[in-house]
Symmetry: C2
Subunit: 248 residues, 2 copies
DNA sequence: TAGTGGTCTAGACCACCCC
DNA sequence: GGGTGGTCTAGACCACTAG
């Protein structure tokens, strides 16, 4: 627990501590709704300052692993709730959690120039060259949804169809191969009737209702990097966590 | 900027500072994508520690108002993105932002005993008494969605139909009248065909696709307080912000 | 009243970006 | 090299909860 020595990796102390605690929780060393050790005690035990402990706790809180009650203690979220929180934002993890095998079939892989609509949401000039990828998402080989992605990558960066098919996940390709870390995405979600192509690709009945999700993904500098349209059949459920309360 | 004196309200310093900065941004004193003053400078100017400044900045970051870049500075999110972030999680705010007038029509207001399904998601014993409220949501008087809520309130607490109709918002009723602050909600979102009742209430065509959103809302102590089923017609778009990346 | 989390401070050093 | 945000510390006091 010392990032100055062995500055290999150089993971911050509070992240190391969070990893340690996360592992303890997931391995069942600590039971649901049981209190964690008090912050001061953890600080003493791991030989870090209380502030560092608090940062680790905050991280785990944001992940939905634990929560703090003023004056009472810090408690472990119940296992069902933890599982649900983990499934959020990840087709792959959610599928695995339900015991399914995630997959994809790449239908279209091309470079295109941005039209007005996409240029507008990505905040770029029309006719900028984009990567366009159209995929069918599979669970246990069954088609579940269609994803149309338009990516605006930094000049000189790109990837091949084979690279994407090997990774199996566009997100992992961005992070691992292109060093691009998505930080925030804004989504607009609605319903729509399946068109003929949707019916054919997803193996649905005519007139089936679809979940339509449009997403703009931004890098850490809040530069839009991807616009994505997703269509899911009625059997898929999108998971979400709400933490902002404006006054519904 | 001193909570020890005039301990009226006793709003923490970093929240006061966040309010100040938020107001400056919204009033246009600072322009989009312009850098904020450096943290050390803000600390000096407002006579607080740098750590307090950082807490305020973190708060505004979570709200989507600003973002920080290591080594470069802290910048103001562009206005369109700020607006979109503000609309999240709030039917009322989103509607107002689009220039509409939000409304509601209460269809059902009753006390019921929990069935097995609802008892399970709310983590309570079956036959516990719940408030059941069914409403149609309106924009400019037009029906947009149907919401079915089951509320599990602390013993002795309750509210009347008139109270709800006066507030116009179940959320505000919880916070202002019952001192219950929602902290996290987990949602499962999918699509479904409108049934006969949906068609009639929302004034849709037969076979219209609906957005179905099921939500469990929890209090600050992670006690489930509400289960809600929402059905929206194709004209409504649900807004969402994604900040967790597990590996899509 | 004792114990917990929440806020605040002052100062230090590191990591990153850009000139 | 100079300026920025990111991490870390040690200690103080406040606010809330529970026995």
């Amino acid at each position: 627990m010392d990032p100055t020595q062995s500055n290999e990796a150089a993971v911050p102390l509070y992240k190391q501590l969070a990893d340690t605690l996360r592992q303890q929780i997931e391995s069942g060393e600590l039971n649901d709704q049981e209190p964690l050790a008090p912050e001061r005690e953890l600080a003493l035990h791991y030989k870090v300052s209380r502030d560092t402990v608090r940062k680790a706790i905050r991280l785990l809180d944001e992940e939905g692993m634990i929560y703090s009650d003023h004056g009472r203690g810090t408690f472990i979220t119940s296992a069902p709730l933890r599982d649900m929180a983990k499934a959020i934002g990840s087709f792959t993890l959610d599928t695995l959690r339900r015991g399914g095998v995630p997959g994809q079939k790449v239908l279209v892989f091309e470079k295109v120039t941005a039209g007005m609509a996409i240029a507008s949401v990505l905040n770029i000039k029309p006719d900028t060259v984009l990567h366009h990828v159209k995929r069918v998402r599979l669970i246990d080989g069954e088609p579940i949804g269609i994803q149309d992605s338009w990516l605006c990558l930094p000049k000189g960066q790109g990837f091949s169809r084979e690279q994407l098919e090997r990774k199996g996940s566009l997100y992992r390709l961005l992070v691992e191969d292109l060093q691009i870390q998505p930080s925030v995405a804004l989504e607009s979600i609605g319903s729509i009737l399946a068109c003929e192509q949707d019916v054919a690709l997803l193996n649905l009945d005519k007139g089936a209702p679809l979940l339509l999700c449009e997403r703009v993904t931004m890098s850490e500098r809040r530069v839009p990097i991807e616009y994505c349209e997703m269509r899911y059949g009625p059997s898929y459920r999108y998971k979400n966590k709400v933490t902002q309360w404006g006054g519904n």
